[in-house]
């Protein structure tokens, strides 16, 4: 094929023989990429008289936007919450490994930790783009320590905190800085939380509600102040009650400001949420469903005892327990497994299953203008899948970074 130098220095790639997820449906279209971005081939043709330098035969694969995991604690023996000197290489290691699950960007998640962990870990990792080295880091998800004692789950109680003063001051003191933070999970019933929510949102940080005993009106007030996510719905919150549905009630609340969507994380591993509960959530609020793995250290590791934060956990089959108890403390599911399980359990379409792992998390984080879709101009972060949604290859910025 002739060189396209006359048109642009960057080579143009055309993915052919594929079905691409665009405008909420799979379409038989070629996908064009230049300079790491998805290209409008019609403009290329008429404006630049350009053509493809390289064709990639996708062998009838589905092409979906790369998956985005907004809650992942670690994997492959790495625990992001361990205050070691070199967390950044641990995160890089996991970032590379999760390419095979179709994840092209993620929020490394820290569970409730002592201050020195925050102060040591957060400065080590900056928000950065993905590539052959691994999935991109969108910023940390800080789950705790401003959460409820009653719903602490696997979080160590001695490190839980409450807001000692209003505003961001105390929060900054706790975390040591917010530069590389994308999301904070907190319990909205804690005194002073509403002003913190407002201030965090103003800084462009997503606020999630979770590990909480909030009632519905407290949750609604938090949403009105800017909170937009629910951390692992149903887990670590009050169970649904018909006179006070609690945080779960946000899915059908009429108090959500017009034009806003409340998203909710789902660990669709078949363990953390009963399939019937998953269906209740999906059917009542399909556009807010965000698949998360909540994966822990042991994801990718064999069964046995492993360390999560300050605690020891035990892997039995697909379950991860606080050692010696039956308390679930995170999953060992991979994102591609969650997509498949979600589709199977909810009976949703392929499109919906894929968007729950791509478009919805991108919308949640406010980055859907560049990620989570295959629109012209978006980053060419892609997954190639077969019809049963097994990952065949992963691309970041148009470059192949993993192939089965």
């Amino acid at each position: 094929m002739p060189s396209n130098k006359s048109v642009s220095d960057a080579p143009i790639t055309q993915f052919i023989n594929c079905r691409i997820l665009r405008d909420h449906c799979l379409q038989r279209e070629d996908l064009w990429v230049r300079d790491g971005k998805i290209l409008d081939p019609e403009k290329l043709f008429f404006d630049e008289h350009g053509y493809a330098d390289k064709r990639v035969d996708c062998e009838d694969s589905i092409i979906a936007p790369g998956f985005i995991d907004v809650q992942i604690n670690g994997g492959y023996g790495v625990d992001f919450s361990q205050a070691c000197e070199d967390v950044s290489s641990g995160i890089s290691f996991v970032a590379k490994k999760i390419l095979e699950h179709g994840v092209t960007s993620f929020c490394p998640t820290l569970v409730t930790s002592p201050l020195d962990v925050y102060h040591k870990v957060l400065p080590q990792v900056k928000v950065h783009d993905g590539g052959a080295h691994g999935a991109g880091v969108l910023g940390f998800h800080l789950e705790g320590p401003f959460i409820s004692v009653e719903k602490k789950g696997a979080h160590p109680e001695k490190f839980l905190r409450t807001f000692k003063s209003s505003g961001l001051g105390y929060l900054m003191e706790t975390y040591g800085g917010l530069d590389s933070v994308a999301m904070v999970t907190l319990a909205p019933e804690l005194d002073g939380s509403q002003s913190v929510i407002r201030d965090l949102c103003q800084k462009g940080i997503t606020v999630s509600l979770g590990h909480s005993v909030a009632n519905l009106s407290q949750a609604e007030e938090a949403v009105q102040h800017g909170a937009s996510f629910i951390t692992h719905l149903f887990n670590a919150m009050l169970p649904f009650h018909h006179r006070d549905p609690g945080i779960v009630g946000l899915l059908t609340s009429d108090q959500v400001p017009a034009g806003r969507t409340v998203y909710y994380g789902m660990i669709a591993d078949g363990i953390h949420t009963n399939p019937a509960a998953l269906r209740i959530a999906h059917r009542s609020h399909p556009s807010g469903l965000v698949l998360v793995t909540d994966a822990i250290t042991a994801m990718g590791l064999p069964p046995g005892r492993h360390t999560l934060g300050q605690q020891v956990i035990e892997i039995q089959g697909l379950h991860a327990y606080v050692a010696g108890t039956k308390t679930l403390c995170g999953s060992i599911a991979t994102m591609d497994m969650c997509v498949r399980h979600f589709k199977h359990a909810s009976g949703c379409s392929v499109e919906e299953a894929l968007e729950a792992a791509s478009l919805h998390p991108a919308q949640l984080l406010g980055i859907s203008h560049r990620k989570g879709n295959l629109d012209f101009g978006s980053d060419a972060d892609l997954v190639l899948l077969d019809d049963t949604l097994n990952i065949k290859a992963t691309f970041i910025s148009g470059e192949e970074v993993w192939r089965k």
């Binding site: 070629d30 409008d40 081939p41 019609e42 403009k43 043709f45 008429f46 008289h49 350009g50 053509y51």
Partner: protein, 276 residues
């Protein structure tokens, strides 16, 4: 004149596509010898384009050495508007085949100097050596390209105001909103098409039956601009049964009786590459 009568839309589309395929193959185009093809838009040629794409995909033909000239384009709608003829050609034909952008020509209805655009289009056709085969469709009022009733039969490429009938017919593509339908277009003239070595007109459906009757059984008339091709030495009308409803039985029988001869024109030429 040849009149090709097929049973239905699909068969007439396939016949037309095979005819174009054979014309290109027999021309033996190459780097110094481009086949020049005039092309229409609209719903009628869609089936024909689909077939041509199929022939490209099975390796029967290539458009590498084909230059195309489109008949017309609206004035004043964005090029990437879904109803622009640029979008039509891209979505229904160009993106599926191996044609090079620089070999496609569609009038630009967004330039400042529309007249100059039309003149330069004529020049490009001349520079390409004229059109080998001009394919066209017609409206129910017998217009070819946007040469509305009353257009000069020796007209060249120019700006044309659309007839009320055409605007109303097109409103369905613009959410039924008459105010959104372009009222002007750039179009090749009847004379421009007449200059082609060969012209193929596709006419299908009962709603075009009266136009076909006017085109071939009545005299040359500028109120039915397609009738001008009675004067062209090489014209093929390809139609379906429905489009013949207004023709005389005698006419239909005469041309149907010749189908065994005409069908030879669309047989696979011996030189054609084998299917993959």
């Amino acid at each position: 004149m040849k009149l090709i009568i097929l049973n239905d839309y699909d068969q007439s589309s396939e016949w037309a596509a095979k005819y174009i395929r054979n014309k290109i193959l027999m021309f033996k185009p190459g780097p110094d010898r481009y086949f020049t093809l005039g092309l229409p838009t609209g719903s009628t040629p869609l089936g024909c384009y689909k077939k041509l794409i199929e022939y490209y995909k099975t390796g029967e033909i290539s458009f590498q050495y084909v230059k195309t000239f489109n008949m017309d384009e609206y004035v004043g709608i964005a090029r990437d508007h879904p109803e622009s003829y640029h979008s039509f050609m891209w979505n229904n034909f160009f993106k599926h085949i191996d044609i090079k952008a620089e070999n496609t020509h569609i009038l630009d209805g967004n330039v400042k100097d529309l007249q100059a655009e039309c003149e330069s289009f004529e020049e490009k056709i001349t520079a390409a050596g004229g059109i080998e085969l001009f394919v066209g469709g017609i409206g129910p009022d017998g217009h070819i390209a946007f040469n509305e009733p009353g257009s000069s039969l020796v007209s060249r490429t120019r700006v044309k105001t659309l007839a009320k009938d055409t605007i109303m017919a097109n409103a369905r593509f613009f959410n039924g909103d008459l105010s959104k339908v372009p009222t002007m277009a750039l179009t090749v003239g009847v004379g421009t098409v007449m200059d082609a070595k060969e012209v193929m007109i596709l006419i299908t459906g009962a709603h075009k039956a009266f136009a076909l009757y006017k085109a071939i059984e009545e005299g040359v008339n500028h109120m039915w601009t397609v009738s001008a091709f009675q004067q062209h030495p090489q014209t093929v009308f390809v139609c379906d049964e429905d489009a013949t409803l207004e023709l005389r039985v005698k006419t239909v029988k005469y041309f149907k009786g010749m189908m065994h001869v005409h069908n030879k024109l669309v047989e696979r030429p011996p030189s054609m590459p084998k299917k993959n």
